[in-house]
Each structure stands twice: as C-alpha cells, then as structure tokens.
Amino acid sequence: MTNQRLVVSISPHIKNGRTVRRMIVTTIAALMPATLWGFYQFGLDAVALVAVGITAACGTEALISRLAGKTSSLGDGHAVLTGLVLALLVPAGAPFWLVIVGAAMAILVGKMPFGPLGGAPIYPALVGLLIVATSWPNEIKSYVQPTTAPIELKAQGAADAEFPRDAVLIDPSDEAEYKTADLFLGKQVGPIGVISPLLLLLGGLFLILRRVSRWQAPFGFLIGMGLAAGIGHALDPSGCASASFHLFTGSAMFGAFFLCTDWSSTPVTPWGMFLFGLIGGGLAVLLRIAGLPYGAVPWAIVIMSLATPIFDRITPTPFGKVASHA
C-alpha cells in the first residue's frame, strides 16, 4: 500500500493552482457583507450565535479527527464555513444550544461519515439545520426585531419572512406593507444572514466572477422560483405572493448563491446544474405554498441534492461523437 503512485481523490479535479482552502476562504469572504448586515440588524446576539456555530463545528471536526486517528482537516476551513452557514440560517433569538447541536450534527452526520471533504451527498450545514428544525420547530422560529425594519415584528407567523407558508399566507394587505425595495435592501425579519438579498447577490456574483462557483445553478434556481411564483400569482393572487416577494424573502437568495453551488452535493455538468437549480426553485415555491411548516428553500435543495446523481448523467456529447445504438 505504500507504493501507490496514483491517488484518485473525489471531485473536483480541476487543477489550476487554486486550492480547496482558497475557494473556501473566498466563499467565506463573499458571505461577509451579508453576515455583517445581520450583525448590524440583530446586534450582539447574532455575533455570539455565529461565533458559537463556528466554534462548535470546528470543535466537533477536531474531536472526530482525533478519535478517528486522522490528521485534522480543520486547516481547509470547511468546518468554519459549515458553522458559519448554519448560524446564518438560524434566527438571532435562537438559543445557543440549538446552534451547537446543529453545528455538531452537521459535522457528525452530514460531513464526517462521507469522508472529510467533497463526499457529502447533502450540504452538511443543511443536514444540521434540518435536524434541529424538525426537532425543535418552535425554537427555530425565534425571530427578533431588526434594528431597521419598516414594519414592527407582529405576531410570529405574520413576520416569518422565511416561513414559506406563513409568508405566503400573509393577507394581500400585509404583502403591500412589505415594500419590495425594503425587502431587497434587507429591511426584513428573518434568520441572521439571509435577510439582505442585495448583499447576498453581490457576494454570489463575486463568487461567480472569481470562478469559485458557476452561474448555472444560482440563476436556474432564481428563474425557477420566479417562474413558479409568477404562474402561481397569476392564477391565484390571494394564495401565492408575487415573484419578487418570493425571491426577496426567506433564504431564497442565500440558497441560490451559497447552497445550490456546493461542490459535492450538486451536479457538475452545466445543464445538470441549470436543471438542478430550475427544478429546485420551482420545488421551493411549491413547498412554500403547499405547506411545509418550516424551511421550504433548504428542503427543496436537500431533495434536489438527493437527485444529483441523476442530473450528473446529463453530460454534454463530446464533439464528433455519434450516438451509439448498442
């Protein structure tokens, strides 16, 4: 076993001088504007939650590496990213233990069993998030009033912007209260890191320009959501909010640019990525309308991740190749 010359590792195999560590650091940097906006809107509670999330994820990863007798993979920063993403998807009023359990579960169940990096079939932070969300459905909705928001945080349900069903079931009069521009600029109630579509869009475009992620999946996702919401709104304005409302609330933008672009749990071919996003976006709107109590976007992306192997079969035909009839 010691004279292995060729070591085949899990994809991505692109070799151009970039390292995994740099890609992850770039992703974290792209998340920073939205994170800082969350800190501004929700104050020290949000800072503490993010710190706790990152610490818990790194601690779990270090512990498991130690127990398994492997060299620690903390250096690539993936645990930091996982903890950060998890904390950003949790509202600022959530208890600390919720984030700790979520981050630990993300690493323990979502990441480590599939190899340290690149093998996870579902985005690890989403695994952690959905485990805690299904276990403690009330705590995961502990929203707090942001510093600047045009409307007061009213009854829990009415203000749950993420919360698909509630968001969409708001009276049309309530929807009018949310001005699209306010929503876009991040003056809304929601989890810490996802309330500012503008900053997330900028961060996502930065990632695409730095070639850390591709454009197909995020834009596919946004188009899918827009189409589904547009059709739904045209058919039944009282049952389905408008496309812009769907796109600018909840974790739609976050999901599109930071969850649909994960390296290991989404397809690798261009058409595969686009279809993954398109169907995922439609599914997210469907879940928002037809009734998940929590987290339509995360669930839609998790469901699509499970179908990733199917999308990966949609490969471009090499130039000059004739379809064979075997």
């Binding site: 069993p113 299904t134 276990s135």
Partner: protein
C-alpha cells in the same frame, strides 16, 4: 462442526442479526423508539424463532422439499398469531406500542432465514440453541438501539410501561422536558444504526488486531 455452546453464542456477537447479518432491518428501524419497544420486539421474535426452529427441525425429514417454504410459513405464522394473542391479553401496553409490527414478524427474514439455512438441516437441540442465540442477539441489538435512541431523544428509559418502570436519565428541571425529536424520528434510526455498526466494526477490528499482534 461447532460445539453446542458456539451454536448458541454465535448469535450474540459473530452473527448478531441486524448488525452482522443485516437482516430484519424493518422492525429494527421501526420499533426501536424506546427501550421497551426494542426488547419487547426482540423477545417476541425470539419466541417465534425458537418455536419455529424446533418444529421445523423436528419435521425436516417429513416435509417434502418442494413445499417446504409453504410449510415453514404456516408454522411461523401460527406462532406469530399465538404471540400476538398472548401479548394482547397479558401485555396490552407493549402490544399497543409494537402495533402492526407483531403480525409482521411473519415476514421477518431472520426467522425464515434460520428455518431455511439452519433448522431444516440440523437436529432439534442444535436448532433450539441456534434460535435462542440468534433471537437473544436480536433482542440485545434492538434493546441497545432502543435505549440509545430513547435516551438521546427523550432523556428517559421505559423499561416496561405496564409496570411503570420508567427512568428519567436527563432531568431538566420543573416543567421542561428533554426532547430531541430527530432521534425518535425514522431518520434518527438510520443514524443510530450507522453509529452502532461503526462501533461494532471498530471493536472487532481492534480485537482482531490484538489477536494478530
């Protein structure tokens, strides 16, 4: 040829059904929400397994090979229904906890597997020991898995609800209840089963290494 003791003990570790044979996963995942569900299901299965093993090995020279499966199923189903009725009469709460999974013992592949692979080829004594060993191994596995999930999920251990033998292991003060629903939900069953498999593989790897050294 194994000794009689080995015939019995193989089911407890070497061939412990859900972990090593990876058989009987349906009840393993479904009823291990609580310790009580785990051992209750395990003992019910053990009873059916021992009885069907005895009868099938006693009749092994009479049963025509072509209709053997049909005969096995009739014998197994009989003992399952007996178990179901007796449990309904004497352990009603346990029987309600296990619900439809008691009749489903008929299609538990451990039982038909032992009938086909062991009881139909070996004597009554050996088949009895085999059934008892495999059954108790199954019980042990289910009880451990049930205890793990219940403890992580609810902080309690229900030994036997009918006799009020519940233990609260993780107290959280007045009026607050510890509930980690994921662990008692179906996905938690898979995660806990995976953790148990990991643990078993670790232990056997360690012991194999220490034997080799």
């Amino acid at each position: 040829m194994k000794t009689l003791t080995q015939e019995f003990t193989k089911g407890l570790w070497e061939q412990i059904p859900p972990f090593r044979l990876v058989l009987g996963l349906c009840p393993t995942l479904a009823v291990t929400k609580s310790l009580e569900g785990g051992w209750g299901m395990g003992l019910a299965t053990t009873f059916v397994l021992v009885c069907s093993n005895i009868f099938i090995s006693a009749l092994r020279n009479v049963i025509p090979p072509k209709v053997r499966i049909a005969t096995f199923i009739v014998i197994i189903a009989t003992f399952v229904v007996i178990t179901e009725l007796v449990m309904k009469a004497y352990t009603p709460m346990l029987s309600e906890t296990l619900g439809v999974f008691i009749p489903l013992i008929v299609v538990n592949c451990i039982i038909l597997g032992r009938a086909e692979a062991f009881a139909s080829k070996n004597g009554v004594g050996r088949s009895l020991l085999d059934g008892l060993g495999i059954g108790l191994g199954f019980t042990l596995a289910l009880a451990v898995l049930g205890a793990l999930r219940e403890l992580l999920g609810t902080g309690k251990l229900t030994m036997f609800a009918q006799a009020n033998l519940d233990l609260t292991i993780i107290p959280l003060g007045e009026g607050r209840e510890f509930l980690f629903k994921f662990m008692v939900d179906p996905p938690g069953a898979f995660v806990c089963l995976g953790a148990m498999l990991l643990l078993m593989n670790l232990i056997s790897e360690r012991s194999a290494r220490s034997k080799a050294a």
